[in-house]
């Protein structure tokens, strides 16, 4: 989509400490959705990305959750949720513990 670019922060590729994950700043075209972001991340196809993203479906693996600016977003809304400049998307495992 033509138009200006937006910049979002993507957090959560597992790191050695397995708490914060890797933080990346991603450039997207205006009007891009969460699905577009995940597809772009999956296409990058790094080893870490494959841990959380399903390259075939180009979305999150089922054992991961996603928040947009600190609020949960259901997978069914990924394709219809447009991102804005400055948004933060975070993915992390369905939490275990206890």
């Amino acid at each position: 989509m033509p138009g200006r670019e937006i910049r979002v922060v993507f957090r959560g590729l597992p790191s050695e400490a397995e708490t914060r994950g890797t933080e990346l700043r991603v450039m997207l075209s205006e009007g891009s959705t969460v699905s577009d972001l995940l597809e772009k991340m999956a296409s990058a196809s790094t080893g870490k990305a494959r841990l959380v993203l399903d390259p075939a479906r180009k979305t999150l693996r089922p054992e991961f959750l996603l928040t947009l600016n600190g609020r949960f977003l259901e997978k069914s809304r990924f394709a219809s949720t447009a991102l804005k400049d400055g948004d933060t998307v975070e993915v992390f495992p369905v939490p275990s513990g206890g």
Binding site: T19, L65, K75, P93, S96, G97, G98
Partner: protein
């Protein structure tokens, strides 16, 4: 003794505490194939031996310690055992596990289970060794905490640290605190639904099992070795427990709004990174304290190295304790969680219920329902660790207004106080205590639902989340979809209950498939996953039959107002699990083969599971 049966010693010890008579019972193969062991054997004994009308503290109640067919084998972490009884929080069934050594040592001493009935005239301890049970006087142990009791008994028996496994009650169990636990092997706890209160009501201070010379017959040792290694690989791949302990998931729980913060008054805990397992193991001095034959070795002893409790040494807080003595009471000092973990364990109480009760009392104090008059001088402001420490002691002794009130558990305490405070308490309407999360947060709705419909006092289908993909079922795609939640809880039911029959620690064997391979290698029975699930479903259905007989009202299979409330902030703000609760429950009942309205198992279900003889109408 009956014929040799792979996986079993084939014997149960039945102790009548009223008469002092110990009777040996045969565990035959037909019974073993139907109930497996552990939780299954416990459920069978509850169902067959405790008639309706028997209260939790009556001599007719049973207190059943069972190991399982893998206990005491080479399988890593096979020291786990179950305690089954009618519990005081719900006056319904409870089956609660503890890790450590006792399950293995019970079997190495010659028994698959230990069944206590009656009530002793004097306080006693039971020592299981060399194929027999010895009843010994315990008057000298009264008043000792659980750890002191262990030390005193080791001295009395003249044995070393790992020669025996000792599980004891502390002051809470002696004084009938409704959520008293049974604590052993320095930091392991079977804690749900007041099993320690039942033990105290029978005047049993401790049970001891020796590391005996009996051997568990194994069908195929080589196959067991390979399957055990598969379990180990699965455990290393499961989350971060093997590396960071159960506290390794603390920060992810915070990010998903699933930490219990100040009694659910908020879902935000920005200090989570200073309180997680990674910080704990990086900053504090750590020493391994592995359970029976465990290579994962997630159990540690830690020494606090900074802050007001620097120099204090205690067992490493598991996730449940980090949550209980961190966010739930508004504390942000990691060292203090080590202190309070030791305190609640040695007093012998369930950390979950203790922290729900104290967090509720702190909210009451903040909002003026309790003043320094009701607290008898204790400043119960959020985060006041020393006040919590004092209050734990008072609860264990049922001392003063607040100690006696909170010793009843938060459901009863809140109903006694009445007014708005009644709406602030966190429990299920059956009286079950949730584990230490905010289950309203992301990914935990299945556990909230499971906790409410479970038949035994804690989670039944879920554990550390829910994992349908482990058994080739569709994953949970939308964690806030009520239909998805009832689907995964119903369709995954049985698998984890089968695990609970085996005598193993799930942290060492989280995946059902290699675990089943271990079971088949030990027994030679060649069960499929479907067979294993059916055995688990039989146990769940048996517990439902027991509970229905003992007064379960399916209307109470729902959360309290606060437990099922809508989060006011955080990642799950505005999400309402109760909106479609009745539909979820009916769907779950249908999937389980229960009547969708009444929750009573159908005749077809009972026939399929071989439980016709226990049908509600069969008397």
């Amino acid at each position: 003794m009956g014929e040799r049966m792979n996986g079993y010693l084939g014997r149960l010890a039945n102790v009548n505490l009223s008469t002092g008579c110990v009777r040996e019972e045969v565990l035959d193969e037909l019974t073993a194939r139907k109930w497996v062991g552990g939780a299954g054997l416990g459920a069978k004994i509850l169902l067959e031996e405790i008639p309706p009308g028997v209260e939790w503290d009556a001599p007719e109640n049973r207190l059943v310690f069972t190991a399982g067919p893998l206990a005491g084998t080479m399988v890593f972490g096979s020291g786990t055992f179950n305690v089954a009884t009618k519990g005081p929080m719900t006056n319904l069934a409870v089956i609660s596990q503890a890790n450590g050594y006792f399950g293995a040592y019970l079997r190495l001493s010659g028994f698959d289970g230990l069944v206590l009935r009656g009530r002793s005239a004097e306080w006693v301890t039971l020592w299981v060794h060399d194929g027999r049970v010895e009843i010994r006087p315990a008057a000298a142990l009264l008043g000792l905490d659980a750890w002191e009791t262990e030390d005193a008994l080791r001295g009395e028996l003249g044995v070393g640290e790992r020669d025996v496994s000792i599980f004891a009650i502390g002051p809470a169990g002696e004084n009938g605190v409704r959520y008293a636990a049974i604590v052993g092997d320095r930091g392991h706890v079977t804690s749900k639904n007041g099993v320690g209160a039942v033990m105290g009501s029978k005047r049993v201070k401790a049970v001891v099992a020796s590391r005996g010379a009996f051997e568990v017959p194994v069908f195929d040792t080589q196959a067991l070795r390979l399957a055990n290694l598969e379990c180990f690989e699965a455990a290393k791949a499961f989350g971060t427990t093997w590396k960071w302990g159960t506290g390794g998931g603390f920060s992810n729980l915070a990010k998903s709004g699933a930490l219990p913060v100040k009694n659910y008054t908020t879902s935000l805990f920005p200090e989570h990174e200073s309180m997680n397992g990674q910080t704990l193991r990086t900053k504090f001095r750590v020493r391994s304290m592995p359970c029976f034959r465990c290579a994962i070795s997630h159990v540690k002893e830690v020494t606090v190295t900074e802050g007001p409790y620097a120099g204090f040494t205690g067992e490493e807080p598991e996730y449940e304790q980090l949550a209980a003595w961190g966010p739930q009471i508004g504390n942000t000092d990691l060292g203090a969680t080590v202190l309070l973990t030791r305190e609640v364990d040695r007093l012998g109480m369930d950390c979950n219920e203790a922290s729900w009760a104290i967090g509720w009392a702190m909210e009451c104090f903040e909002k003026g329902v309790f003043t320094l008059s009701e607290t008898e001088g204790l400043d119960l402001s959020w985060g006041n660790v020393e006040a919590v420490r004092v209050l734990l002691g008072r609860i264990s002794r049922r001392e003063g207004f607040l100690g006696a009130l909170l010793a009843e558990g938060v459901m009863r305490a809140s109903r006694k106080v009445k007014g708005p405070a009644e709406q602030w308490a966190i429990y299920t309407m059956k009286g079950v205590t949730p584990r230490g999360h905010d289950h309203r947060g992301g990914g935990r709705w299945p556990e909230l639902f499971d906790t409410c419909v479970s038949g035994h006092g804690t989670i039944q289908s879920s554990w550390s989340g829910i994992h349908p993909q482990f058994v080739d079922q569709p994953p949970l795609e939308d964690v806030f979809d009520p239909a998805e939640v009832s689907r995964v809880v119903g369709d995954f039911a049985g698998y984890r209950t089968f695990d609970d029959c085996l005598g193993i620690c799930r942290l060492a064997a989280p995946h059902p498939k290699p675990l089943l391979a271990c079971f088949n290698a030990v027994t030679g029975w060649n069960w499929t996953l479907a067979d294993a699930r059916e055995a688990g479903l039989r146990v769940i259905t048996a517990l439902r039959l027991f509970n229905l007989r003992h007064g379960l009202d399916p209307e109470n299979e729902r959360p309290s107002a606060r437990y099922g409330s809508v989060p006011v902030d955080g990642p799950a703000q505005g999400r309402d699990i109760q909106a479609k609760w009745d539909e979820m429950r009916a769907d779950y009942y249908r999937r389980m083969g229960f009547d969708p309205q009444t929750g009573i198992p159908t005749a077809e279900t009972l026939k399929r599971l071989g439980l016709e003889a226990y049908a509600p109408h069969a008397g």
